[in-house]
């Protein structure tokens, strides 16, 4: 065996080694320092160190006083819940105080972080770094039972709650081209971050944080500043969403990570009044509650903490029991969003699970900071754990009905109906179905121009409809599925979600259009009603033919996958400005509004111009963006010719931009607001029932059978059936 | 008398272990293949024996390959093209004709070249062609649950089985011939002895006896 001796390097080798090391160092510096700077200037977004007024240092005495107060409050609350109420108030008070000062009660009730902070000498909450002081890593239990230690910050930065998008597979969304989103080799980041949508009227880059000067009538001309924007509900505290995460390389800068609002989810005493827009020399961003009070009351995640943001998209801001909507801000109060996105609240008043103390995370069982939204998803919202189920059956089994005499028959319905179909009877009346962003209305109380909700309803057949659903959805949120009989007549994209037939709805739209005409004389009421209720009328005959062909060729197979059941779906459509250069059979690229100018002036074209002047929208209309994601995006969108980089703003004028309704209504899943008692048989099984069996793809004979009320009459005749209930 | 140290310790150890395993494998393999024929081993006994022996043969084969890579034993398997056919032919002529005429061996092993061309070729074929196929198909049997359902349109286990069986027949044949050929040395047992002691002895070579130590 030969031994290889280490020889001193020759001068050339030495030189080569030094050059290599220098190049590597250079590349690292470029990646870490120059790339972020270049990226920031390319997309026109800012990152800077963040400070918050509520993050103040307390002296030891102040800390102890606060600890005392929080401990007393917690014990007071818990004791009051235990001591019976049916007694002399004074006697009760004495008992509560006795209980509060019991040694074991103090030990078990005092917010745990008081002790931790005291021992660690923490007298100021400084954001994530304070949390990471102890929680640098967390144990995550995965669905298959494996336990892993993960880096806490990395876990949250890569969660959908932070990124609002995902560029991995696992989407149950299919493009109108028939391809499952991100199932192929070319994966693009998709999710809320880049999904323009007609409900908020803008998207995260152009609508992250806005300060709006309102002029409420009762203020007699005085200007009140209001806060608005997507960032109010999102945990990043910086000047923009996590745009950096959309690139295959690079990371969110550490300043931005320091802006993560841990406490909005983890604290029980978080003050939502701190959640408003603030302006500093770098721009606008959302404030947070970083007080020691909030930090000391960190506790287990509960429905209350989730609902600070999520009641907004369930019950809505105008929902009576939306707690967060009562704390709109100490200053710059948040603008309430009227017209609910779903109108199905999760609260003890309107949901049987909430009433029985079930917490959000009981069904949406998290794995670390990744939270599942279930395998079925009709919209293009990213899912942290797309393989994890969130279902009724996981608790209720396949035979959930035990009360009724007809329990077997009720259970029998589960093969075809989702639980929600019977157990969500109505949505909130605030549920918005048609929203006109192009013709805003002046709200004199708020002193703002607001988008006009042409139609709101929570009634079945109006605010929501019933569709077959196998868990798949289209790129523009249309539920996909098919009648298990293999029907080829079920075609919601040409029927249920593409037109409004209900005469009451049409009349309501007409009356609203007539009302709008007062303000906007150019409105032709008949044309307006037709566009809103028959959005397909906006398509040319060629486009219409192409649409039908795409449905048959690309979507039929996706509709027939798996097992479909009938689910309720909230309906929604919006009139917005569209970039007609990028129009397809299902809609065109909608253009965002700039919130401040929209709310203040109601000059909608001006507001669009301002929004699309945003650097990132300009980038969107350039070649790199086209190649990186927009062509793929358009293909999913049903536009086969690729993304046209014809920037719609030329010399301050909008070019080839028209106001339109999307060519069909979006359908949003509703899964909360569950009622213990379901529908009566007759609500569906009658000739004028809430379900249109014919449109659901049943044969005429089967429709007659399903609408036959004799069988229900028979059920009622049973004398003992009422007693058995 | 001339003596050459041809077979180092590891080669001999490997050879005899391999020989033993071959016999065990042939016996246990046949016992399974011809199960129920009323002779040979019990199926239940033959199976674990065959599996264990097969695994050991695999380890041995890997050891052999590595051994040939790291020691200079490997050079004996390097085919020298110069005069190849002439050497091959003279060796064949010897076995087919000369041996009956009591002609002298055409080939004299040396430290540089211990195998005659015919030997070299057959060992190459056996060790680097048949053995890998046999070992791979054997392991495919062991993990047949992970095989795809079909291979080339046939049941994959069937393909594996037929491959294994065919190669096994070839190797059994090789063993027979090999056993016979070792008797064709200077004396009936001189080749056998060489593989036991490591020393190859020839009576009338002019060079001095020399010994080599392996490094």
């Amino acid at each position: 065996m030969k031994r290889i001796a280490l020889k001193p390097l020759s001068p050339t080798a030495k030189r080569r080694l030094i050059v290599t090391v220098l190049v590597l160092i250079g590349l690292t510096v470029a990646y870490k320092v120059l790339y972020p700077l270049a990226f920031e200037s390319y997309v026109g977004k800012t990152n800077a160190p963040l400070t918050y007024a509520s993050s103040t240092a307390l002296t030891k005495t102040e800390f102890e006083a606060l600890a005392q107060e929080l401990s007393t409050n917690a014990r007071q609350r818990k004791a009051a819940a235990i001591v019976d109420t049916d007694q002399e108030p004074f006697a009760r008070q004495v008992k509560i105080e006795m209980l509060m000062n019991t040694e074991s009660f103090i030990r078990d009730t005092e917010p745990s972080h008081i002790k931790y902070f005291r021992e660690a000498g923490i007298h100021r909450y400084e954001g994530p770094q304070t949390c990471l002081h102890c929680h640098a890593t967390i144990q995550v239990t995965h669905g298959d039972g494996t336990v892993k230690n993960v880096d806490t910050l990395g876990d949250i930065v890569n969660s959908v709650h932070f990124k609002f998008q995902s560029e991995s597979g696992g989407f149950s969304t299919y493009g109108y081209d028939g391809r499952q989103v991100n199932s192929g080799p070319h994966k693009i980041p998709v999710g809320k971050i880049n999904r323009a949508c007609g409900i908020p009227g803008s998207f995260t880059w152009t609508g992250w944080a806005a300060l709006v000067a309102s002029r409420p009538e009762h203020g007699e001309g005085e200007v009140t500043m209001r806060s608005e924007g997507c960032g109010q509900c999102h945990i990043g505290g910086n000047y923009q969403p996590a745009t950096e995460k959309m690139m295959p390389i690079g990371d969110v800068p550490s300043e931005a990570k320091e802006g993560i609002d841990c406490l909005i989810c983890h604290s029980t005493d978080y003050d939502m009044n701190e959640r408003h827009v603030i302006q500093d020399d770098k721009g606008l961003r959302w404030n947070q509650d970083r007080s020691l009070r909030a930090a000391l009351t960190v506790g287990p995640i509960s429905s209350e903490t989730c609902l600070r943001c999520h009641q907004h998209n369930m019950g809505g801001d105008a929902y009576l029991h939306n707690e967060a909507a009562r704390s709109l801000g100490h200053i710059n109060q948040r603008i309430l969003h009227r017209g609910a996105k779903r109108g199905n609240p999760f609260s003890p008043h309107d949901d049987t699970h909430a009433a029985s103390g079930i917490q959000c995370t009981d069904c949406h069982v998290p794995e670390g900071h990744k939270i599942p939204r279930g395998r079925k998803g009709v919209d293009l919202v990213a899912n942290d754990i797309p393989t994890k189920d969130v279902t009724c059956e996981s608790c209720h089994t396949q035979a959930p009905h035990n009360q009724s005499e007809h329990k077997a028959l009720l259970n029998g319905h589960i093969a075809r109906l989702a639980c929600e179909t019977c157990h969500i009877k109505e949505l909130e009346a605030e549920n918005v179905v048609l929203r006109d962003w192009v013709h805003p209305t002046w709200d004199s109380d708020e002193g703002l121009f607001e988008p006009t909700d042409i139609y709101r309803s929570g009634k079945p057949g109006k605010g929501f409809t019933f569709l077959w659903f196998n868990g798949n959805g289209t790129f523009l949120a249309n539920a996909l599925g098919n009648n298990p009989n293999g029907s080829d007549t079920y075609n919601p994209l040409m029927q249920q979600v593409a037109r409004i037939d209900d005469p009451e709805m049409i009349a309501a739209v007409r009356s609203k259009a007539t009302e709008l005409k007062q303000q906007y004389p150019e409105i032709d009421v008949d044309a307006y009603v037709r566009m809103a209720t028959d959005p397909l009328s906006q398509l040319s005959p060629e486009m219409l033919a192409k649409r039908e062909a795409m449905i048959q060729n690309n979507l039929r197979a996706v509709m027939s996958q798996g097992e479909s059941r009938i689910y309720p779906f909230k309906l929604f459509n919006a009139m917005m400005f569209e970039d007609m250069s990028n129009q397809g059979p299902f809609g065109a690229m909608i253009l965002p509004f700039d919130y401040a100018s929209y709310y203040e002036t109601g000059d909608t074209p001006a507001s669009v111009k301002k929004a699309i002047a945003d650097p990132i929208v300009q980038r969107m209309y350039q070649e790199p963006f086209k190649l990186y994601m927009m062509d793929e995006f358009m293909s999913y969108f049903g536009i086969t010719e690729g993304w046209k980089t014809v920037y719609p703003l030329v010399d301050g004028r909008l070019e080839n931009v028209e106001p339109h309704w999307m060519r069909q209504m979006g359908t949003l899943m509703v899964n909360h607001g569950i009622q213990g008692k379901g529908r009566d048989c007759i609500e569906c099984h009658s000739p004028d029932g809430i379900m249109n069996f014919r449109q659901l793809g049943y044969s005429p004979e089967r429709v007659a059978e399903l609408e036959d009320i004799d069988i229900i009459e028979n059920l009622k005749e049973q004398p003992d059936s009422a007693a058995a209930q | 008398m001339n003596a050459l140290y041809l077979y180092s310790g590891w080669v001999r150890a490997w050879h005899w272990l391999n020989a033993l395993l071959f016999l065990v494998l042939i016996l246990s393999g046949a016992s399974m293949h011809f199960a129920g024929a009323g002779w040979l081993l019990n199926f239940e006994i033959a199976r674990p024996i065959h599996n264990v022996a097969g695994i050991l043969v695999t380890i041995g084969w890997i050891g052999f390959v590595i051994g040939n890579l790291v020691t200079d034993n490997g050079r004996h398997y390097r085919v020298r093209l110069r005069g190849f056919f002439q050497r091959l032919f003279s060796q064949m002529r010897y076995y087919g004709y000369g041996i009956f005429q009591n002609e002298p061996h055409p080939f004299h092993p040396s430290a540089e070249m211990k195998l005659n061309t015919l030997q070299q070729l057959s060992y190459l074929g056996v060790m680097y062609l048949l053995m890998p196929v046999l070992i791979l198909s054997g392991w495919a049997f062991l993990f047949s649950i992970y095989l795809p359902e079909t291979l080339f349109g046939l049941g994959s286990v069937w393909v594996v089985a037929m491959t294994h069986l065919t190669v096994a027949y070839f190797l059994a044949l090789f063993v027979l011939v090999h056993l016979y050929i070792i008797t064709t040395g200077e004396t009936l047992t001189s080749n056998l002895r060489a593989m036991i002691t490591g020393w190859h002895r020839e009576p009338d070579l002019e060079t001095q006896p020399r010994s080599e130590t392996q490094g």
């Binding site: 029998g412 | 024929a37 076995y95």
Partner: protein
């Protein structure tokens, strides 16, 4: 050869019987029953036991089952005419024997499946010996034909069906109760070499019933674990009992097309010891024999040459 002829005859009968069932719709009488009972999730949770009682009947399985041609009310004679059914209707006794009678009058007891109606005579006798009947375990209580044979879906395996599918479907019946068998921690099959392969390739019954004669269906005498067949050679040999049990379902057609390659490539299966390729074996033995002969002759020649040198003076 008899085996082939027999299965051929069986095939013909089956085709004759199966055709009307496959083409005809389920009896019209069934429609009103199936209006509810076709709901796949028609079930309730028994308040007594907490178990889910399944009331669903798969109309497709029913119409393709051995009972596909008969009406619901032929068996269910209770007062099911209206919904809700009267409470006592649940206690009905099923009238199986009306069809599956023990035909003592004729001397055709050798063939239980005459007229394609399983008569219970020999089945009864076999079942009486079965571990399902003799066990005094609490789990075996209430065991009946229906525990294995779903009357709404049962159909006998047929010649030409894919063997793997037969194995899967048959074993599913056993596994629906014996789920612990597949528990890796308490598996009584740990001794079985290549366990997974066996599970996918043979039916539980192939080992857990007594060996039966050629052409007969597998016995209903399911054996206790300790009495079950553990002798590998029963299958792993040329006279494999699998040939007239599981592989009786292999189709003539398959045999005909694949026979030239290997008579034992039944549905592409290979069974060690059973699937012997006669040609290959013969070829192997002939070549081996020839080699031995050549070597012997060579040796003899050398011996002669050796003798010549001895005879020659040096």
């Amino acid at each position: 050869m008899t085996n082939l002829a027999l299965s051929g005859a069986l095939l013909l009968t089956l085709i004759a019987v199966a055709t009307p069932a496959a083409s005809g719709s389920p009896a019209t009488e069934n429609k009103s029953c199936l209006r509810c009972h076709a709901m796949a999730t028609l079930a309730y949770r028994d308040p007594g036991t907490g178990d889910i009682v399944d009331l669903a009947v798969n109309p497709h399985a029913l119409s393709h089952s051995v009972h596909g041609e008969i009406d619901c009310i032929d068996c269910h004679e209770g007062d099911f005419g209206r919904y809700p059914h009267p409470a006592d209707a649940a206690n009905e006794t099923l009238s199986c024997v009306g069809c599956h009678e023990k035909d003592d009058t004729k001397d055709d007891t050798k063939d239980d499946t005459k007229d394609n109606i399983a008569r219970f005579k020999s089945i009864d006798a076999e079942y009486a010996e079965s571990v399902h009947a003799t066990s005094d375990s609490a789990e075996a209580e209430g065991f009946s034909c229906h525990s294995c044979h779903d009357p709404h879906g049962f159909r006998a395996s047929q010649v030409g069906e894919e063997i793997a599918a037969i194995v899967r479907d048959d074993n599913q019946v056993c596994l629906s109760c014996h789920e612990k068998v597949r528990d890796p921690l308490s598996d009584p099959h740990a001794w079985l070499p290549n366990r997974e392969k066996h599970w996918n390739a043979v039916r539980c019954l192939d080992c857990h019933t007594p060996l039966s004669d050629n052409g007969k269906t597998v016995s209903h005498q399911v054996l206790k674990a300790e009495d079950s067949n553990r002798d590998c050679v029963n299958c792993h040999s040329r006279e494999s009992s699998l040939l007239n049990r599981l592989y009786q379902y292999r189709s003539e057609e398959d045999l005909a097309t694949k026979g030239w390659l290997n008579k034992a490539v039944f549905n592409d299966a290979y069974v060690v010891g059973m699937s012997r390729n006669a040609t290959l074996d013969l070829l192997g033995l002939i070549v081996t024999g020839l080699t031995l002969l050549v070597l012997a002759a060579h040796g003899f020649g050398r011996y002669k040459a050796y003798q010549r040198t001895k005879g020659k003076p040096e």
